[in-house]
């Protein structure tokens, strides 16, 4: 096994294992930490693809920002109080069945698919490439995202603010 393959499987294990734990752990803090592990695994996969800028953005934004905010909220409202509660409906067999069917279907599709050859990023100048793509080809989506964020901010403030 080459070093790259080893890292690929290691990061994939992190990503998938973390994601599995994130949805199965009962404690909200544990789930959040598992999610962090999963995101780290994904960040590692970016690194393997030479997408170093994405790798760092993933860490700064998701792990250092969003997930930390999750953790903050979990601690603040003490979500672990719900730890002892049992879910009152037991639909996981149905969910598992659907997941299994979907998994099998995807596997069949995957085996028949004709995928374009994978591309790796050029070794250098990654940040410049991202910047050029983002600010030239995808300038409008980039700007429109700010409108999306503005709407989200206005909406959440509107719903959450104190009554006058």
């Amino acid at each position: 096994m080459t070093l790259e393959a080893f890292f690929f499987y290691a990061f994939t294990t992190l990503a998938l294992g973390g994601a599995t734990l994130a949805i199965t752990r009962r404690s909200a803090v544990h789930a959040a930490i598992s999610l962090m592990v999963s995101l780290l695994g994904v960040a590692g996969l970016y690194l393997l693809l030479n997408a170093e800028f994405l790798f760092v953005s993933q860490i700064i934004l998701y792990i250092g920002g969003i997930l930390l905010l999750f953790l903050f909220v979990i601690m603040l409202v003490n979500l672990d109080a719900g730890r002892g509660l049992r879910q009152f409906h037991q639909r996981w067999p149905l969910g598992a069945a659907v997941t299994a069917i979907a998994g099998v279907a995807f596997a069949i599709l995957w085996s028949r698919a004709k995928l374009p050859p994978s591309q790796t990023m050029p070794d250098v100048g990654n940040v410049e490439l991202v910047a050029d793509t983002l600010l030239q080809d995808y300038l409008v989506p980039f700007e429109v995202v700010s409108l999306l964020l503005l709407v989200a901010v206005v909406g959440s403030v509107l719903l959450a603010r104190k009554r006058a």
């Binding site: 860490i59 250092g64 250098v124």
Partner: protein, 395 residues
């Protein structure tokens, strides 16, 4: 030479130096604080208390590692080492000098030279908060929890103005590689004013904003709310003792070193001297050393205590030798950049301690309001102005 071997060699040099610096930072901080408050500071262990860090280390190592029964064991164990690991790793990408050639081997003065060094530091310090937040949560103690909460909220809030403040000098140097950032600040405006971002680059406001945010990011006074001792006992590390406590302590100091090194790299021109070498910049390290040696010799001749006659004399001689070393041809290339980098970063670290001795702690709501209503708009405005200027220049 083999890349891996070279890295191991560099780490073998850097790691003890770093750990030693961490230990002696405590001594420096206590000494400076003491003098700010007209006290003597540590003076019992060794001359001028210089052996105090070693005594502290022995004390922390041999102390009982008490673990309360109600903690969440996994995260309780993990937290301090997470904090320390990320804090120390971040230092590895900081270049403390240019690319030099020693015994025919070309290498950069720094552990790693990567294209996104600055972002990596931001990412690693961002992950370091998990140590504190998890420590607060896993301790299962309301004071600890409040400390962890505060640190995560504070970190998220101050990271925004910090990132904006960092972005403006980046617009000028146009790279994320720390070594190239420093290289971009080489040269002098009008041949005399250093072309550093905070000086000749006119980024003093973002420098100031960065510095303020760095105080918050490293949980230092006036933003040390996660461990505010008169509200939260000791905040997130209340339940920690022995080496785990020491790990948090070291992480905090390592973070200070990182923050100051980044500020040096980004705003103060890294290893570039303050006056051009042609105008005598290369003699400044020697002159400073001679000056301090002179002061020490004066004290040796007029001792306040009997022991000073010997200790001051010896230290003075060492510093004198150091000063001469800056002019030795081969060592010079290595020592001069190191001197400039260390003195700039050291000055900033001194500022950190100085502020701790003089500024009172913020209240929590003031802290948040300050970040969002003062720093954030200021940083945004600064970024906007910089962008306009850079765009106008490039056309």
């Amino acid at each position: 030479m083999d890349f891996i071997l070279l890295s191991i060699l560099k780490t073998a040099i850097a790691a003890p130096v770093l750990l030693g610096t961490l230990a002696y930072l405590v001594w420096i901080e206590r000494k400076v604080l003491a003098h700010v408050q007209l006290r003597m500071g540590p003076s019992r262990v060794g001359p001028h208390g210089l052996l105090q860090p070693i005594a502290d280390a022995i004390k922390l190592l041999t102390k009982e590692d008490f673990i309360p029964s109600y903690v969440n064991h996994v995260y309780y164990w993990l937290a301090p080492w997470l904090a320390l690991m990320f804090a120390v790793t971040a230092i590895s990408v900081i270049p403390i000098g240019p690319i030099v050639e020693i015994f025919g081997v070309k290498t950069n003065m720094g552990q790693a030279d990567i294209s996104i060094g600055l972002l990596l530091i931001l990412g690693l310090t961002g992950m370091g908060v998990y140590g504190i937040a998890l420590a607060g949560w896993s301790s299962n103690n309301k004071y600890s929890l409040l400390g962890g909460l505060r640190s995560s909220a504070q970190m998220i809030s101050y990271e925004l103005p910090m990132a904006l403040a960092i972005a403006s000098p980046l617009l000028i140097v146009n790279t994320l590689n720390l070594r190239e950032i420093v290289n971009g600040q080489a040269g002098y405006v009008f041949g005399i004013i250093p072309n550093w971002n905070a000086v000749g680059g006119l980024q003093m406001f973002s420098f100031l904003i960065y510095l303020i945010c760095a105080f918050a990011e490293t949980n230092r006074i006036p933003f040390d709310l996660p461990e505010a001792e008169n509200e939260l006992v000791s905040g997130y590390n209340t339940e920690y003792s022995s080496m785990k406590f020491a790990a948090f302590f070291m992480a905090e100091y390592a973070n200070i070193i990182t923050a100051c090194s980044v500020a040096t790299t980004l705003f103060l021109g890294g290893w570039h001297p303050i006056i051009p070498n042609e105008l005598g910049g290369q003699f400044i390290p020697t002159l400073i050393c001679f000056f301090f040696a002179g002061v020490l010799f004066y004290h040796a001749l007029n001792p306040a205590r009997p022991s000073d006659r010997l200790s001051m004399g010896v230290i003075g001689a060492i510093i004198l030798g150091l000063g001469l070393m800056f002019q030795v041809p081969v060592v010079k290339d290595l020592a001069q950049p190191l001197f400039w980098f260390a003195s700039k970063a050291g000055f900033l670290i001194f500022v950190f301690i100085w502020v701790r001795g003089t500024v009172p702690r913020f209240r929590y709501d003031q802290l948040m309001r300050f970040a969002w209503l003062v720093l954030f708009p200021a940083a945004l405005l600064n970024l906007l102005l910089t962008a306009f200027v850079v765009a106008a220049k490039s056309n």
